[in-house]
Amino acid sequence: MTLDYKSATEKFEPTLGLEVHVELNTNSKMFCSCATEFGASPNTQTCPVCLGLPGALPVVNGKAIESTILIGLALNCSIAPYSRFARKNYFYPDMPKNFQTSQYDEPICVDGYLDVEIETEDGPKTFRVDIERVHMEEDTGKSLHVGGATGRIHGAEYSLLDYNRAGIPLVEIVTRIIPGTGKYAPQVARAYVTQLRDILRALGVSDVKMEQGSLRCDANVSLAPIGSGILGTRSETKNVNSLRSVERALTGEIERQANRLEAGERIIQETRHFLEESGLTRPGRSKEQAEDYRYFPEPDLVPVTPDAKWIEELRAKLPENPADRRKRLQKEWNVPDAEMTSLINAELMDVVEETIKLGAEPTRARTWWLGEISRLANEKEVAPTSLITTAFVAEIIALISSGDLTDKLARQVVEGVVSGEGSPAEVIEKRGLKVVSDDSALMVAIEAAIAAQPDTAERIRGGNIPAVGALIGAVMKATGGQADAAKVRELLLRHLGQG
């Protein structure tokens, strides 16, 4: 009998541990001045330092240290007054030096936490994820395995190495074990990585693109019988390249481990690879033990000793926590949960905030970005923000609020701006899109409509208010849709003695 996820988590208690690697978005590499551009042609961003040529001397990128301290501060860590780099020795062609410059027992940031909120059956619940350390290291080169049927190492004839990525600053954020999540372990992991990504993005220290590998998550999980109080043997799942995969990989791994344990088998401590297509994991390389890396302090680099003044200067630069900001804006704008979620998923919160800052009325700012502009963007398969500036949207909304544009006219203005006809003012001018608000001009159309439908007019005079719709339609038609329908209704009713 196989256990499904539900029964697996009824019998076993999962314990999580997450390691997130973030490539910083510095212009140059961690220990040399090579560019860090993604997608450059192979081995065009290398030098004696990142190729590990004899005699080359590394020098630390100050910006990378600042970014790491910022990350530590945003995660409520203490910043170590003294930290050092260490050599992590291993022989593998992704590092031409035969060691990776990393940090071992003296990381830059320690002892932080991040509170993450998830939806549970009993409503929203907050889990505190303790951060053990945030340390600096360098990324490795990229290998391409040639030959063999599957493109995997097994059966490959040889491997090709591109060292453009080798030496790009990498920050590793390691949690302590996260107990007590129960069946919500996969969701807590996903929420943690999501929130971490939002924080890193707000800090502006990384591109945080999981699909390009600038944010990578290794998920550790172990199981123990519920209530046993023991800690099981863990596996580490790599190759998890999206937020959704974080959740899927852990769900699959918890099921796999539960079924092994249920069958009386042992869990092997190993690295596993997540398979995107199936949602399963398969064993990867057997991991070397920490002592096998023969860490020792890097003799070519001097210690990092940030003083309190520097740390406080950086602390003053911290942006508002994205989760707090979201809650604050939702309250300020008075938005229902579902719509706020749509805004966030569509990545439109920032532009809506900017549009409102430019004077637009909050509800209109939201509806226009989520509605018409998103619709046009969908049609053209581009991002809404690439179609129109926040300043133009704010300008159009101001004209709606002042009554100079109806929603219908405003849609034409947006469409004109999007098709490159110029600013809203220019589109209005060229297309002649002003609302006909001149009462006397409207009255001409109203008189004409009444004259054309005397019976309808009579019914309205007799108290049949809904009949006014037919006359409004006629006036709107006569003015080419450029009249404000509410205004026409008001004038018509007043003219027929019902106002």
Binding site: S28, P42, T44, T46, L51, K63, A64
Partner: protein
């Protein structure tokens, strides 16, 4: 310090991806033992009031500005490579690892 065993040498050889014959393992165990013995003498003079050192100069916070400087060209980068293909370094198949 514990003596270097033949198994220790075999383990180190595996980590270093070096293939060694049984004779070489025996030989190397003796040699490493001697090297460690020599280095061990440092411990005799190291006392609690001398902190371990990782750098000869007592400096800290030596940073570069985050400015890009020209890299080697692809040809220069690969000029010392024993083998190359498709603008990349070509290395023998990597066995038993992933």
């Amino acid at each position: 310090m514990a003596a270097i065993s033949r198994d220790d040498v075999a383990h180190l050889a595996k980590l270093a991806r070096v293939e060694m014959t049984p004779d070489e393992l025996d030989h190397m165990a003796v040699e490493l033992e001697q090297i460690l013995g020599a280095v061990k003498r440092v411990q005799e003079v190291a006392t609690a009031d001398i902190p371990p050192t990782s750098h000869p100069l007592s400096m800290s916070n030596i940073f570069r500005d985050d400015v890009v400087k020209p890299s080697l060209t692809n040809e220069e980068a690969l000029s010392g490579a024993p083998a190359k293909a498709e603008d990349r370094f070509k290395v023998p198949q990597i066995l038993g690892e992933e």
